[in-house]
């Protein structure tokens, strides 16, 4: 193997790792309702199509950060698959999102399984999302049964929140 090939392989490994981290940061930004982090993940002119929303990422950021009635969400991402071509890339990610909605006084847990089909662009050495399309596969809804204050679950005192008071910020700090 030539040195040139090795450099290309190393670059490809770094690109794919950076793309995986980009997908994970999107989940963190959505689940923490972190508007500035979310905005930082998109390339200029990026487009998003996700459920009822279709339009520029700059608008999606506001919609995603403040949906009416959403108490909490958990975007679990896996099966990341990427094809990198220089400074552009495409990817498919599997996601299971668990959300608790509070509408009209009733709480509902919703599980949604689907995929993100993405286009990426490398801008100033950093990978950004240029286009994201959510493909729905399945969903389930149940009246919420979450236990916060009793038994085994009640003992776990660190709780996730949709905001800067989430425990993760004390470890990672605020992201611009």
């Amino acid at each position: 193997m030539s040195d040139n090939n090795e450099q290309q392989l190393l670059q490809q490994l770094e690109d794919k790792q950076a793309l995986r981290e980009l997908g994970t940061l999107f989940a963190r930004a959505a689940d923490r309702a972190d508007r500035s982090l979310l905005a930082s993940l998109f390339a200029d002119g990026a487009q998003v199509s996700d459920g009822g929303f279709s339009g520029p990422a700059s608008e999606f950021v506001g919609v995603c950060a403040a949906p009416a009635g959403l108490e909490r969400s958990f975007h679990s991402v896996s099966n990341e698959f990427y094809q990198v071509e220089g400074d552009t890339a495409r990817g498919e990610l599997y996601v299971i999102t668990v959300s608790t909605w509070n509408k009209d006084g009733a709480k509902t847990d919703t599980l949604i399984g689907g995929r993100y089909l993405d286009e990426y662009r490398k801008v100033g050495g950093a990978w950004k999302i240029a286009r994201r399309t959510f493909v729905h596969e399945w969903n389930m809804s149940f009246p919420t049964t979450t236990v916060w204050d009793e038994g085994l679950f009640g003992m776990i005192k660190l709780r996730g929140t949709r905001g800067q008071d989430d425990p993760s910020y004390t470890l990672f700090g605020e992201k611009a």
């Binding site: 090795e6 450099q7 190393l10 490994l13 770094e14 790792q17 981290e21 994970t24 940061l25 989940a27 963190r28 689940d31 909490r72 958990f74 975007h75 679990s76 991402v77 896996s78 299971i96 668990v98 608790t100 847990d109 149940f142 919420t144 049964t145 979450t146 236990v147 085994l152 679950f153 003992m155 776990i156 005192k157 660190l158 709780r159 996730g160 989430d166 425990p167 993760s168 470890l171 990672f172």
Partner: protein
């Protein structure tokens, strides 16, 4: 950054990721020695069910799991690792789990749960282990138990176990 440093950074992230999987392996197989091997001896945890020294937590956690959960299955994703130096890293990971438990009256329930781990990892003597691990709860469910062992499910003869009889040991994937 030199090529050597770039390769080391990739390998370090992979090593931490693998140790995160080790931790889950240990919890789901109830393997106390394996669980301890993922923490430095002076590590600490904040888990709510136990706060304090990490190895004391391991001694507490394995019997706790066996006493409270009929079975448990933990699946991690969303791993984010940030290095502070060549030997120190902070990390967050998502855990989407499922477990079965029995209520005091004997009724079985399914408890799916969404948790996150908030970690500090340190490399000592060439091995990444946790210096800190905290458990953050995002969601849980208490659903009627719906698992079945009849019909087509009876065909699944290889069942996970909480001892060294599990197939992962036979395959030599656990020390």
């Amino acid at each position: 950054m030199s090529s050597a440093a770039r390769i080391r950074a990739l390998a370090d992230k992979q090593a931490i990721h693998e140790q995160m999987c080790r931790y889950i392996q240990a919890v789901d197989r109830c393997d106390l020695d394996l669980l301890k091997s993922t923490f430095h001896h002076d590590g600490t945890v904040i888990f709510g069910i136990f706060d304090g020294n990490a190895h004391a937590f391991c001694d507490y956690d394995i019997p706790f799991i066996k006493d409270n959960l009929i079975w448990a299955y933990h699946r991690i994703a969303n791993v984010l690792i940030e290095f502070d130096s060549d030997t120190l890293a902070r990390a967050e990971s998502y855990m989407l789990g499922n477990a079965a438990a029995a209520l005091p009256d004997g009724t079985k329930i399914n408890c799916p749960d969404n948790m996150r781990y908030r970690d500090v990892w340190e490399k000592r003597d060439g091995v990444w282990k946790m210096r800190q691990r905290d458990l953050v709860m995002d969601w849980n469910g208490c659903w009627p138990y719906a698992g079945r062992e009849d019909g087509e499910f009876a065909a699944y003869r290889i069942q996970g176990s909480r001892d060294r009889n599990d197939r992962v040991y036979q395959l030599g994937l656990v020390p």
